[in-house]
């Protein structure tokens, strides 16, 4: 959870309990593994980012030089710009559709509500690899749908895998994967809005749109903020979809398509571990700052 919001109820009763070390016995196993797979790699990457390996002279401390290099690196900026654009377009579109569907299901006006809820959620259970392969084939000109439609109807639809469109094509895959997940989060939040809050408004003759705007949306703001933060983290981390599409669209997806892909290529193709760690640390910082700002803005105007 990126959102440090704990129930007041969770911590309140603790006052009555005596302080003892007994709790550590329960928390220690988790913390032990956590230290190994979270804290140690974070520390290690910060350490790596401060050094540089040279062909002659071995590894030496270079301070913030790697960071300076990253800030002047057009490939890093290009990758960051691409995921920022992705974030600015894909996340609002996906969350808006998810919210509309959640409101529609919650309104109780649909035939076969349960079918909608389950059907739209199902893509979440599909691994990113399979989702990307499926859509990649659909996009393709060989036995894909785009190729098939062009052939049969004599059209010349542009290939979604061309350099100009591939980011939108990835946006569609990610939207497909997560629209249902976000829908269920919103729907669950809507379910716990007490009916008394808007029954009065209904009796007073308020229209549904007004009830949605004035009552329902403010009531689920917490869920909206959480979903936004998760989506931001997801966008900045974008990796699986582009790396898998790379085989189907080798010309459209560069080795620095997203920051993560760049860090991956630097390490595994370029052996530039120190610089790769620098890019990873920078992205971690940027993600944390953006997520924190969204949370401040989202939760701050509570009254």
């Amino acid at each position: 959870m990126a959102v440090p919001q704990v129930h007041p109820r969770v911590t309140a009763p603790a006052r009555r309990r005596r302080r003892s070390y007994a709790g550590w016995a329960f928390v220690a196993p988790f913390l032990g593994v956590f230290a190994l797979v979270f804290l140690a790699p974070i520390g290690y990457s910060i350490y790596l980012s401060l050094y540089r390996q040279r062909l002659i002279g071995g590894t030496s401390f270079v301070g913030v030089e790697n960071y300076q290099r990253a800030l002047e690196d057009p490939q890093f900026w290009s990758a960051l710009g691409r995921v920022s654009l992705f974030l600015a377009v894909q996340v609002p579109v996906m969350l808006f559709i998810a919210l509309l569907v959640a409101l529609a299901i919650d309104s109780g006006r649909l035939y076969g509500m349960k079918f909608f809820r389950v059907g739209i959620f199902l893509p979440y259970a599909v691994p990113a690899v399979v989702a990307t392969l499926m859509w990649g084939f659909l996009y393709g000109s060989q036995f894909g749908l785009v190729g098939g439609i062009n052939e049969r109807l004599g059209l010349s639809l542009p290939s979604p895998l061309s350099p100009d469109l591939v980011l939108a094509a990835i946006g569609n895959i990610v939207t497909w994967e997560f629209v249902g997940y976000n829908m269920v989060i919103f729907y669950s939040a809507l379910r716990v809005v007490p009916a008394s809050r808007y029954e009065a408004a209904e009796i007073d003759g308020a229209g549904q749109l007004r009830i949605i705007r004035a009552i329902k949306i403010p009531a689920i703001r917490g869920a909206l903020v959480i979903a936004t933060i998760f989506s931001i983290i997801g966008s900045f981390q974008l990796f699986n979809e582009p790396v898998i599409l790379q085989d189907l669209a080798p010309n459209a997806i560069t080795t620095y398509f997203t920051p993560n892909l760049y860090a991956y290529s630097l390490s595994f193709a370029g052996q530039q571990f120190n610089y790769s760690a620098t890019v990873a640390v920078l992205m971690g910082l940027i993600t944390m700052v953006v997520a924190y700002l969204v949370q401040l803005r989202g939760m701050g105007r509570e009254d």
Partner: protein, 303 residues
Amino acid sequence: MSVAVRPVEAPTNTTPVRRRSVRRPRRSPTLTLLTGIVLAYSLFPLAWLVINATKSRDGLFASFGLAFADDFALWDNIVETFTYADGIFLRWLVNTVLYVLVGAVGATFLATLAGYGLAKFDFPGKRAVFAVVIGAVAVPGTALAVPTFLMFSQMGLTNTPWSVIIPSLITPFGLYLMWTFAAEAIPDELLEAARVDGAGEFRTFFRVCLPLLAPGIVTVLLFTMVATWNNFFLPLIMLRDAQWYPLTLGLYTWNKQASTAGGEAVFHLVITGSLLTILPLLAAFLLLQRYWQSGLAAGSVKQ
């Protein structure tokens, strides 16, 4: 659904305030149709996958994407998927099950212990534990992958099952879920009574508390199973030997084969293999609906 979310979704059936007591809204064909568009969008790639898994290698290229080919080759494809390259697909399936069982069960166990410890004990350093876990979670997971790889390779863990299993043992989301769940599902009085009777802390946990936590445990288990079943990035960087691949990575390499020099294009096997990969998860989600729906509800706790 009420079973799993009792603490979070209490209003659902414990309070007399019930939603929409005024009147049942009329069902709307228009709204159903509009939401149906999103449902169709969610299901059509899956339909494409099912249809194309029935086509032979040649039928794939000769027929339109959303129509069946003349030959029905589903069974042949399944047999070929399992026998191709000395039956490596079966090996990948076994690996995936191993990673899911050890990883997801281990992760759920650690999260349950720690969540219980945080919810029910007051101990020195508890605030620090909370701050560290929440802070680290905001760091993008994939940003940790490269340093984790470098660390693991120094420890001699890469290219072993452990390199995939150990990082999946930590689920901060699961910890958060179990924490909120344990805080409300287990009354403090019960623990006091057990202590007065002289039962040890672990005995109390396993005998008294574990049954009360069962619904939360199933939810966390389901979500960690999906996460490990769908895991791609971690195995991609950790594993070199195809004998240890999970299904996702295996399918990726089969697809890649077509674009490698001298590689044989086996798209029909990629498609059939994809279908076989998602079937267990789709089945699990359909059978355990009430758990994931309530699990997400718990994740979107109202403030």
